[in-house]
């Protein structure tokens, strides 16, 4: 079964600084990868996804992620963060189970942007 590791539980960063949130997954023949953001007391919103093709994926709000098959990683990056980016970020892999895709989530990384 797939597993997802987000090594950093919390990442504090100053406003306008770059940020990288790390995600590693267990290897598989084919893999679909996602980053979701959860703002306080809200549901999950899709930031970006990798299904196939270019390994550099661009998402909403200026975020991007790079799929690295050899390192089984899918790190999320943003060159300049804003206060409004403060939220919980979840990496997820889509795992095939009983003919249905389901998400396996990482434990989340809390991004706190400081003024």
């Amino acid at each position: 079964a797939q597993s997802v590791t987000q090594l950093d539980s919390q990442v504090p960063v100053f406003e306008e600084a770059p940020v990288e949130l790390r995600c590693n997954y267990s290897s598989s023949v084919s893999v679909y990868l996602f980053w979701y953001v959860q703002y306080p007391n809200q549901g999950l919103q899709l930031l970006l996804k990798y299904l196939s093709g270019s390994t550099l994926v661009k998402g909403i709000n200026g975020f991007e992620a790079e799929f690295n098959k050899s390192q089984t990683s899918f790190h999320l990056r943003k060159p300049s963060v804003h206060i409004s980016d403060t939220a919980e970020y979840f990496c997820a892999v889509s795992d095939l189970d009983s003919g249905t895709y389901k998400y396996i989530f990482g434990t989340g990384t809390r991004l706190k942007v400081l003024a």
Binding site: N41, L44, K49, L51, S94, T100, K102, Y103, T107
Partner: protein, 113 residues
């Protein structure tokens, strides 16, 4: 229009009670899910339905029973609530069982006292 909507948003109840959470999606999707997010923010799938048929049933106590009256609705009924059931429950849907992108509702925060 909200794509995936859950009611209620907050639910506070006493131990031993029975409660239901409702979910509706207006996206025309065939597949719906229930996920549980615990106090440490860990998200785990509980159930999945495809066109009213149960297709994923993770190791969940029998006190939890999902019901899908039609493919646009997936409800979650919980009997004999326990303190450990306190969590945020998320409903989600995807186009079909082979579609990898899921759309999530806003969540229902259940607190058992």
């Amino acid at each position: 229009d909200t794509a995936v909507s859950q009611t209620p948003k907050y639910l506070v109840t006493q131990m031993g009670n029975d409660k239901s959470i409702k979910c509706e999606q207006n996206l025309g999707h065939d597949t719906m899910y229930w996920y549980k997010q615990d106090s440490k923010k860990f998200l785990k799938i509980m159930f999945s339905y495809n066109n009213k048929e149960l297709i994923i049933n993770e190791t969940v106590p029998n006190r939890f029973s999902p019901k899908s009256p039609d493919k646009a609705h997936l409800n979650l009924h919980i009997n004999s609530l326990e303190l450990g059931d306190s969590a945020v429950y998320f409903c989600a849907s995807s186009l079909d069982r082979m579609n990898t992108e899921a759309f999530f509702g806003q969540g229902t925060r259940l607190t058992v006292v």
